[in-house]
Structure formats: C-alpha cells, structure tokens
C-alpha cells in the first residue's frame, strides 16, 4: 500500500510535468507565443530606444570621371616632358562633373602641384589624390593684358614661324616683358546648375576673388585644351560665351571666347583648327 502511494506520488507530478512541457514547448505552444510577444515588444523598443546610426563606405569616383582625371594627369605629364615650348595638348575635356570637385594646388616648397578630387558624402570626401612634380598651374585669363597678348601671339592666321618670331622676340623677354599667361596658386573645377544659371562645368580661381573668372558660369568650354609656355607652367582656358555671335572675337579678362577653342567649327583661327593645320605646335 505504501509502495503504491509512493508510486502515485511520483507518477502524478511526472504526468503534470509532461503536460506542462507539451503545453509550453510544442511548436504552437504557450512558450512560442510568449516568445513572439516578447520579440515584438523588443522590436518596437529597438525603434524607440537607442540613437540611429549611419554607416559609411569608401567613396569612389564614377568610372567616366575617373577616366577624365587620369587623362588630365597623363596629358600634363606629357606636356612637362615635352621638348617643345609654347605648345598645346588635349586632355579630352571633362564630362559632367556633378557632385565632384577637382582642385589643383601649387606647393612652392615642393615645387609640385597637388591634384585632389572630392566627392562622396557631402561632396567633401577625398576620393583621389596625386602629386604632379615640377608643374605649376596657370590660366589664360586674369587680366585684359594677358588675354590680349595671348590673342596677339596665337589667335591669327600667321604660320608658326611668324608666331615663333613674335614669341621669342616680344614676349617673356627681358627687353619687353609681356605675360601671356597668369600663374596661379590654385584652381577648382566642378559643376554648377540652377534655375538662374547656365548649367555646366565651371572653373574657379580663388585668389582672383569675385569679378574675374569666378562669376562666370559654364565657363570651361575649353575643347579639352591645355597650353604650356615652358613645360613647367600648364595653363587651363577659362572661357566666356561669345556675346558677338559665332566667331573667336569676344575674349576678355574672364578668359577666351569659347569659339577660339573649337566651339565654332568654322572658325579658322581657333586653336583646334590651327593645330590641325600646323600653325600651332602640339606638345605630344
């Protein structure tokens, strides 16, 4: 009798335990239900408690823009190593630089120009950097005198021999020093658009302040042209839209008329046309 009582006192709790386990732990049991409720509460708490975080990834340039930058650097290196003075070369121009800024900064202590490309979050992240040794940036702009002297030297129908005589005897000499280019410390190239501006790539020279080059929009219609007088200075061409119609005749301190750089395909004194005809020298 005692044995049976003992057996019953073990069996009944065992059966109750089995029932509880089945009740809670079967796939559709109470325990699963409790888990679902708790995880729902947890998920809603996650969206309430704790600061939202952001992540970042390595910023990159779109392939087209990277190709443009690579070509620019290759062209500059070629111009630097050329033996030809007063020559021109073509880097191909820039595609739409939306979201990207290219800066060229000259460091006199290293006698180098640093090319920095910014893009990424906020357009301030550095995605590319290159030091071009022995190169100084310049522009064909900055003053009426500089642009006029450049025009006189190159934008005419004379043969190269005549132009060369003029350059070697009247320009950049101690006898009659007339600059036909403006050395600068930094250049920025980016894209600008807006309801009140002409959309397009722009070139800016910070040290010019406002009033010269920096207030002209869509002013890098340069046909991809670069110029070097001495294989050390490499000049960009800020441009201005032609106020007088299609022909190379409206240059001023803000730069050359874009028709002088090939915007007008019929213009016979444009740099692109003269290079084809051998009236100007190519660096490469």
């Amino acid at each position: 009798m005692v044995a049976i009582k003992k057996l019953i006192s073990y069996i009944i709790p065992l059966i109750v335990l089995i029932l509880f386990v089945m009740f809670y732990y079967n796939p559709t049991g109470a325990f699963e239900s409790v888990k679902n409720v708790v995880s729902d509460v947890n998920a809603s708490l996650d969206s309430i408690i704790g600061a939202e975080e952001v992540t970042a990834s390595k910023p990159t340039l779109p392939p087209a823009q990277q190709a443009d930058v690579d070509k620019l650097i290759a062209t500059m290196e070629r111009m630097k190593s050329s033996d030809t003075k007063f020559c021109f070369d073509n880097y191909g121009g820039f595609s739409n630089l939306g979201g990207t800024t290219i800066t060229l900064t000259y460091d006199p202590s290293r006698k180098s120009t640093f090319i920095k490309v910014l893009r990424g979050v906020g357009g301030v992240q550095e995605v590319f950097f290159k030091e071009v040794e022995g190169m100084k940036p310049c522009v064909i702009a900055g003053s009426e005198d500089v642009v006029e002297t450049f025009n006189t030297a190159f934008l005419n129908t004379n043969s190269w021999d005549v132009k060369s005589y003029f350059l070697n005897n009247f320009i950049d000499t101690q006898h009659l020093k007339k600059e036909h280019f403006t050395p600068v410390n930094s250049i920025q190239i980016t894209y600008k658009s807006g309801w009140d501006v002409s959309d397009g790539n722009i070139i800016r020279i910070p040290e010019f302040g406002t009033g010269t080059v920096n207030d002209v929009n869509n002013n890098l219609i340069d046909g991809g042209m670069l110029y070097t007088p001495d294989n050390e200075h490499i000049c960009f061409f800020p441009t201005i839209p032609d106020p007088f119609g299609p022909s190379c005749d409206g240059s001023d301190k803000d730069g050359l008329d874009d028709d002088c750089l090939g915007a007008d395909l019929t213009e016979d004194i444009s740099i692109t046309r003269q290079l084809k005809e051998g009236k100007l020298l190519s660096c490469g």
């Binding site: 600061a51 000259y106 910014l118 990424g120 550095e126 980016t190 302040g209």
Partner: protein
C-alpha cells in the same frame, strides 16, 4: 679596532640608505608615470562610455529624439616631444582617439544636442590641448611641419589601431566624416600649442557640402584640409599656397552647417584661439571649463 668596526658599519648603513632612496625614486617615478597615463586613459574611457551610453539610452518618439544621459568628458592637456615624424604621429593619434570617443561619425544626430526637435548650430568639444616641446631631433628654431606635409601624413600614414590610413578612418572608418586643420604659416613645431576638437554635425537636415566660401565661390575644402591662416590687413584670414589671402575667416569654417561630424586641429595662436572659441559654440567639459 672598535672605532674601525663602527666606521664600517656606518658606511654600510649609508649605502643601504642610498640604495633605498634611489629605489624609491625609481619605483615612484614608474608608478606616477603609469598613473598619469592611466588618468588620461581613464578620462578618455569615461568620456567614450558616456557618449555611447547617451546614444544607447536615447529615446525616439514621433521623429523626435531625446538624449537623457549626460556627457562626462574633460579636456586633456598634454605635452609631447619627439622627431617631426613622432610629433605628427602623436597628434594624428590624438585626433583619431577624439574621433573614436565621440562615435566616429556614426550617430545620425548630434551627440551634443539633447533633442533634435530644435535644430541648432553645431557644437564643438575640445578633446585635448597639446603643447609641443623641444626635442634634440626637433627644436623650436627648426622648420615646422607644414600644413600640406601634415595633410599628406594623414593621407599616407597607417592608423595601427584600425589597420587603415588616418584619412580613411576619418572619412569612412565608422560613419562619414572630415578633418580640418587650422594652422599658421609656421605649421606644427615646438613651442606652439594645438587644440583638437570634435565638431558635431548640424541638425538642420539639409546636406550642405560647402565649407568656407569667398563671395559664393567655394574654397573647395575637402575631407582632409590643412588650412593656413595668417594675420594681415583686415585681420585673420585664410592664406593659400604662396601667401595669397582670401577673404575667408575662421567663422566661415566653424559656423557652416555641415551634416557630417568632423575633427579640427587648431593652432592655439592668440587670434586663432580667440576666433575659435568665439565661433565654435563650445560644449563645457565636466570641470566646467
């Protein structure tokens, strides 16, 4: 005979005293050195933990986020010396540590704002001030580390703790970020002091990439830019390579609403320091300074 023994005994005692004193000085020096380093580490850890707790304990409802845990951070003053390379490494490490402490740019809203309900000016906290002292390899009369040199250092040197370049760490090691240096033409050199500050993102919500403008023309300040400021006619202004001055003041840098967190290295030259403390909307440390 007794007299000689006494003399020998006295000598031995003297030697023992000298050894004890020298040992004490050596041990005390080691311990105090360890403790001062430990104090700095402790302060940094406390600050970092308070920032993390503040973020973890923030509460969002209806798009409004509220942070209730306080920041427990203090500005650490430090003297450093060494060769040019070593000094650059130390300063870069302190900048990276400051970035790490304040969340590496990972938090969507400013770590300093208690709530984003009212968007305000972005605030700064000075993590550390560093005094560079003379060293036999790098003295006050030597040419300093130029702004471009240090910029290049951040670009090319590895930050060992994160196995990436310093610039990469600031740009995308956690969240997105940037670094700006405000130096004088003398650069980084002994005899000068520098502040390292964390500038929190603006909560104005609009992505504004332009940092510093000259009459509408961006000066193209990028993710790492070591800028040189000089005092000339018209006051303190930004110089570019070659010394040409732009009409950009420090206020243009510090008051811009930029939606990225950033780290500033600032030469604590009198005019720059004055402008920095005026422009940066500083958060006081736990000492109340």
């Amino acid at each position: 005979m007794v007299h000689k023994i006494h003399k020998k005994g006295d000598l031995g005692f003297l030697v023992a005293i000298i050894i004890v004193i020298l040992s004490f000085m050596l041990i005390a020096g080691t311990i105090f050195g360890f403790m001062s380093g430990a104090e700095e580490k402790e302060a940094e850890t406390l600050c970092k933990d308070s920032v993390a707790l503040r973020a973890a304990a923030s509460f969002s409802a209806g798009g409004v986020e509220a942070k209730i845990a306080p920041l427990l951070c203090q500005t650490i003053d430090k003297k450093v010396s060494g060769s040019k390379e070593e000094v650059q490494q130390i300063i870069a490490d302190k900048m990276a540590r400051c970035w790490e402490i304040f969340g590496e740019g990972r938090y969507k809203t400013s770590v300093f704002e208690n709530t984003n309900a009212f968007s305000g000016d972005s605030k700064c906290f000075v993590c550390s001030t560093i005094l560079v002292e003379d060293d036999r390899n790098f003295k006050g009369e030597d040419t300093g580390v130029t702004a471009l040199e240090f910029e290049n250092f951040l670009r090319t040197a590895d930050y060992p703790k994160k196995s990436m370049k310093y610039l990469d760490y600031f740009q995308y090691g956690g969240g997105p970020g940037y670094v700006i240096g405000v130096l004088t033409p003398e650069g980084i050199k002994p005899g000068r002091a520098y502040g390292i500050a964390f500038k929190a993102k603006s909560t104005s919500g609009e992505l504004n990439p332009i940092i510093g403008t000259v009459g509408g023309t961006s000066i193209g300040v990028g993710a790492v830019s070591m800028l040189v400021f000089g005092v000339g006619t018209g006051g303190l202004g930004l110089l570019i390579a070659g010394g040409a001055a732009l009409g950009v003041g420090l206020a243009d840098l510090f008051q811009e609403d930029v939606t990225l967190d950033g780290i500033f290295l600032v030469d604590l030259q009198k005019d720059i320091q004055k402008e920095f403390y005026k422009s940066c909307n500083l958060v006081a440390d736990i000492a109340g300074t």
